[in-house]
Amino acid sequence: MGCSSSLPDRSSGRLSGLNADGAGATDAKNLRVKLVLLGDSGVGKSCIVLRFVRGQFDPTSKVTVGASFLSQTIALQDSTTVKFEIWDTAGQERYAALAPLYYRGAAVAVVVYDITSPESFTKAQYWVKELQKHGSPDIVMALVGNKADLHENREVPVQDGIDYAEKNGMFFIETSAKTADNINQLFEEIAKRLPRPTTS
């Protein structure tokens, strides 16, 4: 379905057919979650997603899917699954005003900055404020300091990230799409923080 066959999505047609409520939960055990990526161009959003979905860093090697929408399902310990539908947004400044179209209805927002770029950290804070104002009130937000492998060029102290995230009730993590460090943890932690549909 759609523009590019997005792995791994074996039963997409059926699933959405059943999923008439559109609220994101296919059933109590299998969540479907819209996740939107925000952050400056170049901070590593595409690489994080490709690393998570395809297990690879080099985005030029044999990618067979579109890089702007990807989905990936993870299994949690309590034998539930979460299918992340990841919406990339254009990071260029001229498209900033369009972001609300993308994060509307998102259950998760991942705001990414580059630990070697203070400007990207400032931009991340702009997105957080924007989401607080216009995002859905129960949105789960994660703040991600990427390119942690470049610690010798670090310009944003870890503590700054921690403090800002704590003040704003966000989950915080530093990642490296290059070394795969903390990439899966990022998504697992998000999955744990998702509000669960109440079951009897």
């Binding site: 379905m1 579109g66 929408f69 989905s71 005003a97 369009l98």
Partner: protein, 375 residues
């Protein structure tokens, strides 16, 4: 989404089942739902809600119906797809671009695009040179322009997805041949902004309101949102949206305005053209089927005003593709006109193939009640 051809088969399967005597109750509900629209003034949001609710209600009616006893999820799904197509084709003239505000937005956006086309270049959106592939962009635009040849929300949506597929292929090919990092939405959106059909706003609104909500999710919703976003970008576009000097932007817009005043030969968009094109093509937006583009002002045929001396070698490719396009359209038109004059003698109903797709009426009420609201 399935390919167009299987879907068109399932549409006829749906109509077949509706001809089965046991489905009389369903047919009656469908008919009376469609007729009920003639009792109220058009109101897009409200009409949208009513259609969505009706489709949900009918979905469970179909699920419990003896005719679908033991049917798989796919079969039920196909039936509801068929239903959506049937209902929305019937309600099209009432629900598509029906409010003056929407028509105005369409016109404003078209005018703006028309002006921008005089001077906007990919560099203004900082689209990297490797992605400036005229042939692919033209193809993407072609796919999207087919949107006006269809009345069913699902088929309109399919045109959007086909267009996005072309752009995605371009991005993927480029990333492989040029060894360029895939930049995701950063690359995708600007290219999409270049492809825009007439009545973009109304098409998007129509899909948003009338495509089954359960189907406007996930990847489909993502690409749909990208087009909404492209539209909104164009609608709000000013010099600050572009890599262009403020003064240069104003001057270019002014020059374009003057130029378009001089050559204003805008024939009103004729609905008959839509019908003809749809007849000429297939019922479904299969990518290879050529459809019409709306034949509005000169922007689609940029060489109309040109002198031979102004042309460059670089224009040859564009000229050739326009030439082929025009010939294809002309051929389709001839075929369609022929077809039309044949079918005219058979049936006074000028709507697509619906004379064939008519549902059987219970209790011999008059046919085509829904057309009684003067079209």
């Amino acid at each position: 989404m399935d390919s167009g051809s299987t879907q068109s088969l399932t549409f006829y399967d749906f109509l077949d089942r509706m001809r089965n005597p046991t489905s009389l109750d369903l047919v009656r509900s469908i008919k009376s739902f469609i007729v009920s629209f003639s009792f109220y003034v058009a109101n897009p949001e409200n009409d949208g809600k009513r259609v969505q609710e009706f489709l949900l209600t009918m979905e469970s009616a179909i699920r419990d119906h003896p005719l679908w006893a033991g049917a798989s999820e796919e079969e039920i799904d196909c039936a509801v797809e068929g239903l959506e197509k049937y209902v929305m084709t019937k309600l099209f003239s009432r629900t598509f671009a029906s409010s003056p505000e929407d028509t105005k937005i369409d016109r404003d956006i078209s005018e703006k695009i028309h002006l921008l086309q005089n001077f906007l270049r990919p560099e203004h959106l900082d689209i990297p040179l490797v992605l400036q592939n005229e042939a692919s962009w033209l193809l993407a635009e072609k796919e999207l322009q087919k949107i006006n040849a269809f009345k069913a929300p699902r088929e309109k949506l399919l045109c959007i997805l086909n267009c996005c597929r072309v752009i995605n292929n371009l991005l993927l090919n480029t990333s492989m041949t040029e060894n360029r990092v895939l930049a995701g939405a950063d690359d995708f959106l600007p290219v999409l902004i270049y492809a825009n059909p007439p009545q973009l706003h109304s098409n998007l609104k129509f899909i948003q309101l009338y495509r089954r909500q359960a189907k406007l999710v996930s990847e489909v919703a993502y690409y749909f949102t990208n087009l909404v976003s492209a539209k909104s970008f164009i609608a709000d576009l000013d010099s600050k949206s572009l890599s262009i000097d403020e003064i240069e932007f104003q001057e270019s817009m002014q020059a374009a305005r003057l130029a378009s005043k001089e050559t204003q030969i805008e024939p009103p968009p004729s609905p008959a053209l839509d019908e003809i094109a749809a007849l000429a093509g297939q019922m479904d937006p299969v990518p290879s089927t050529r459809m019409h583009d709306n034949i509005t002002g000169g922007s689609n045929y940029p060489f109309m005003e040109a002198d031979a001396g102004e042309l460059t070698v670089g224009d040859v490719e564009r000229l050739l593709s326009l030439y082929k396009d025009v010939v294809t359209k002309y051929a389709s038109l001839c075929r369609a006109v022929k077809h039309l004059s044949i079918s005219k003698t058979e049936s006074p109903v000028p709507v697509l193939k619906e004379n064939k797709a008519e549902l059987k009426m219970p209790e011999g009420r008059s046919k085509n009640v829904d057309h009684s609201r003067g079209e």
